[in-house]
């Protein structure tokens, strides 16, 4: 990428009146091919560039972004952004980072960019997609439609600031997905999907077609189940849904606004001893790995939760200044539960006996201030350790802290292609509402 554009843009921002500034240059491209019932239905190509300015002007803060990359096209607007920023109230907490927190040194290759990206021909992408399309035997009269999609994405980001920090990242991502629709009882037409993704084209596996159809057919005959307290096993594909509220509650924005159910929780045991979450940002070949965040703050391996005790907030320089603390990092990179357990979801169901196996969430939300949540769920009733029948129209309701104090088992089976390495999870005494 042409880093000179960003460096020149930084000089322009300083000349326009910013005392300090950061400029982020992003270039990305996306290619998508979709087949509907074996025929090419959609073809999409995009190539994007943008410049993002963070301006620190007389103790005041403003941002400006544009996808018009020629200085002559945005100089006037950049100047106006600086002038508008001068009109704001000062905010002494808005600063560039203390340089001691910057990532320094040589960033080793995290193995996130496929050098063959530019050489992969459209024909080879479509060939792969067509092979995927052949996975499903269409003789099953219940099948209404099958959609297959190939997508590749490339993103390069270069960040430079007026304190001398600069850093560049590059990632590629390739994915294949299948969505099936089948005829059910009456007018019902269940749909489900499966996907695989990798950062290298040659390792992109086939197989999601068959899994997608199995998942869709498995939804036929869904029934409501009586309301009550249940054991639940949450499948690895969706288990992050009960982890993400914890990360949100530990974010600097939530803590500073006192809008968090984990306010003042650092060092206190608020969750189950079974829960330890570690961020491992330097593992190669993973989507979330990084040496530094968007401010240039160095990432480190650290415990987020240790045996039920929150260890850190996610603090940008701004929220760290607001709270009178040191910055950490803006958000998690590659979080994982450690140590992993020994069981798969099936084995968990086997040992529990009766409960609900949750394979999908349908809407719902979590109150960031209290941790109260209520989610629509999809999945199966299991009895005697094996799946009995699919369920429908049910909600799971409770409080995130209470839920995590009722965690009964942590699995071993996170998906390799997921950014968050969260395995299947089992909880007891969970409130479900149905009939």
């Amino acid at each position: 990428m042409d880093k000179i554009i960003a460096q020149q843009a930084l000089e322009m921002a300083l000349k326009a009146g910013a005392e300090k500034a950061r400029v982020v240059l992003t270039e990305s491209s996306l290619n998508t091919y979709s087949l509907l019932d074996g025929e090419l239905e959609r073809l999409q190509h995009s190539l994007s560039s943008s410049l993002y300015f963070q301006l620190f002007v007389d103790g005041k803060y403003g941002t400006f972004s544009t996808n018009r990359m020629e200085p002559g096209d945005f100089a006037k607007y950049l100047h106006e952004a600086v002038e508008s920023t001068k009109l704001l109230a000062p905010d002494t907490c808005r600063t560039l980072p203390d340089p001691k927190f910057y990532f320094r040194g040589e960033a080793q290759d995290l193995g996130q960019f496929d050098p063959s990206y530019y050489q992969i021909s459209p024909d080879s992408k479509r060939e792969l997609l067509e092979k995927l399309g052949e996975e499903i035997d269409r003789s099953d009269k219940r099948i209404i439609s099958v959609s297959n999609e190939y997508e590749d994405y490339r993103e390069n980001v270069y960040t430079v600031d007026s304190q001398g920090f600069s850093g560049e990242t590059g990632q590629t991502l390739f994915s294949l997905s299948t969505e099936c629709s089948v005829k059910g009882r009456g007018d019902v037409r269940p749909q489900n999907f499966w996907y695989d993704s990798t950062m290298f084209f040659e390792t992109l596996p086939l197989g999601c077609g068959k899994i997608s159809l199995e998942r869709t057919l498995g939804m036929l005959g869904a029934k409501k189940v009586r309301s009550g307290k249940y054991h639940v096993v949450i499948d690895r594909t969706v288990a992050s849904r009960v982890v993400s509220p914890i990360f949100s509650a530990l974010s600097g924005g939530a803590i500073q606004q006192k809008n968090s159910f984990l306010l003042d929780s650092i060092g206190k045991k608020v969750l189950s001893e079974k829960l330890t979450i570690t961020d491992t940002p330097h593992l190669p070949g993973l989507m979330g790995s990084r040496w530094f965040d968007s401010e240039g703050l160095a990432t480190t391996q650290r415990d987020i939760i240790s045996k039920g005790v929150p260890q850190t907030y996610f603090l940008t320089t701004y929220f760290a200044n607001k709270l009178g603390m040191d910055p950490t990092v803006e958000s998690v990179s590659v979080p994982g539960i450690e140590p992993l357990g020994e069981d798969s979801a099936a084995k968990m169901m086997g040992s529990i006996g009766r409960g609900i196996f949750i394979t999908g969430f349908n809407g719902g939300n979590c109150n960031s201030a209290t941790g109260d949540f209520s989610f629509g769920i999809e999945g199966y009733l299991f009895e005697n350790g094996v799946i009995s029948h699919p369920i429908k129209e049910m909600n799971m309701t409770g409080n995130i802290i209470s839920l995590w104090n009722n965690v009964s088992n942590i699995g071993k089976d996170y998906r390799e292609c997921s950014r968050w390495r969260i395995p299947s999870l089992a909880f007891s005494d969970v409130d479900l509402s149905g009939i």
């Binding site: 959609r42 005041k60 803060y61 941002t63 629709s181 006192k258 809008n259 109260d372 509402s433």
Partner: protein
């Protein structure tokens, strides 16, 4: 047609360039092509800890080139509107077809598509300074804190934008459009005896600076306050199946999730919607009429002309209880051999248009809200929502209730909060057993996330639904 020269200048193009690009787009046998030029300037101002201390502005510019061949779509965009870049994008989009070149020539004359203006601006945003806008945010902060000493934090965000569109298609049609948008969001955190709750209010209209006024601030401060204090008395109720009275306004989320998406004709032409075989059939009580409307003045979901050149219009989805029309873009309308309904919308030039809702609401019935509540022995009343979702094929929809009340023996009693409600679209629609006469459109910052983000709104009179599954504690 003589294009408005300022638009041609804005995008640095000539009419002859556009003809050439369209010809390339159809060179592999595509049936239809369009060029969607967009120039958007947006601004944001935010207040935190009592000070208006952050601003941002953004410029977005480019052209999306689409080629349609039957139900197939090729799409590419470029952020540089040079002839070379546009020709390159057109060649990529053209690859969706692999037929001999279309014999239909691009018409030599281009006819303007005329739409009404549902979004007139009295006072353009660019005529006003940051200082003028700041005064409103500061006033809203003061009005909010003045409500109650339990309010500990206030966050505000004001956004304004103006989008200029130039459109041109292979049928020889063209239009230009200006699309203003304004939104104000207020969030407050309250603390009572160590218990913390947060609440918010928002408003969004397609308006200029006249959007900001004292009455708006008073209304938003009061709404956020009222939504917040109720939470201190509220708890998650006992869950299960029960009657639900949905209060007027934001309850329109039921229509958006339970039936709106399933009426979008891209799902129906593929046979994947639970309503795919229901066109022309009775699907609910004959007193019920449901509309998707792009013509509500200043509404967040209104469209003068949609993003593929169809004038804004009002579409009866359900008329007298009968499924009257799906929501169409050009592709689905051709499939169903009917006229497009003006629902072809896109997030920006970076996306291809697909059928999307606009302002979706139910027309008034004849009941009174208090009578609907009085009819319920044991159930809930809900009127404050945050988000929803639907499974198009299975028909199962959900929406999240921030707050409401228990109904016991026909009266509102204990406040409730933080529950998800789930139901099945066709069943819920058929289970509406009372519609009140108090229809209200909710003018919050509703945004639909079907593949791409799109501003919408929703509304509804109060209705009584015989039975939905309510999340809760057992």
């Amino acid at each position: 047609m003589e294009f408005d020269k300022k638009y041609l200048d804005l995008f640095g193009i000539k009419e002859s360039d556009l003809r050439e690009v369209l010809s390339i787009a159809l060179a592999r046998g595509g049936e239809y092509a369009d060029l969607y030029f967009e120039y958007t300037v947006s601004n944001e101002l935010s207040l935190r800890d009592g000070e208006v201390n952050a601003t941002s502005s953004n410029i977005d510019y480019g052209v999306g080139i689409r080629v349609v061949c039957g139900e197939k779509t090729g799409f590419a965009f470029t952020e540089q509107t040079t002839l070379a870049e546009m020709k390159n994008a057109a060649q990529i989009a053209a690859q969706i077809a692999s037929l001999p070149p279309s014999e239909a020539a691009i018409p030599s004359q281009f006819t303007p598509i005329v739409g009404k203006n549902y979004t007139p601006v009295l006072s353009p945003w660019e005529d006003h300074t940051v200082t003028e806008k700041m005064a409103f945010l500061t006033a809203l902060n003061e009005k909010t804190f003045a409500k109650d000493s339990r309010i500990t934090k206030v966050l505000e965000r004001l956004t304004d934008s103006n989008t200029k569109i130039l459109f041109y298609n292979s049928l020889g049609e063209t239009f230009t459009d200006e699309r203003p948008m304004a939104a104000l969001v207020l969030t407050c955190v309250m603390e009572d005896n160590g218990r913390i709750e947060s609440s918010s209010s928002s408003r969004s209209f397609r308006m200029g600076y006249e959007f900001l006024n004292e009455a708006l601030l008073d209304e938003m401060a009061e709404e956020a306050y009222q939504k917040g204090i109720i939470l201190f008395e509220a708890s998650q109720p006992k869950g299960g199946q029960m009657p639900v009275v949905m209060g007027a306004g934001g309850s329109g989320i039921l229509l958006h999730e339970a039936i709106g998406h399933a009426f979008e004709a891209d799902f129906n032409r593929k046979g994947t919607s639970i309503f795919s075989d229901k066109l022309g059939k009775q699907i609910c009580d004959k007193s019920i009429n449901i509309v998707d409307d792009g013509t509500v003045m200043h509404n967040r979901g209104s469209v003068n002309i949609d993003d593929e050149g169809i004038p804004g219009q009002k579409t009866y989805m359900v008329k007298d209880g009968i499924l009257n029309s799906y929501l169409h873009d050009r592709i689905s309308a051709k499939f169903y051999n009917t006229a497009p309904t003006g629902n072809g919308r896109r997030e920006s030039f970076r996306f291809m248009p697909i059928p999307r809702m606009r302002a979706t609401y139910m027309e008034n019935g004849t009941c009174r809200e208090e009578d609907l509540i009085a009819d319920v022995k044991q159930g809930i009343y809900v009127d404050n929502f945050s988000n929803g979702q639907v499974q198009i094929g299975a028909g199962d929809f959900t929406f999240y209730v921030k707050s409401g009340y228990l109904i016991e023996n026909g009266k509102l009693t204990t406040p409730i909060k933080d529950i998800n409600i789930i139901g099945n679209g066709p069943e819920a629609l058929a289970d509406i057993i009372g519609v009140a006469d108090n229809n209200k459109i909710d003018n919050g910052t509703w945004t639909c996330g079907k593949e791409q983000y799109c501003p919408v709104s929703c509304g509804m009179p109060s209705v009584l639904i015989k039975q939905l599954t309510v999340g809760g504690i057992n």
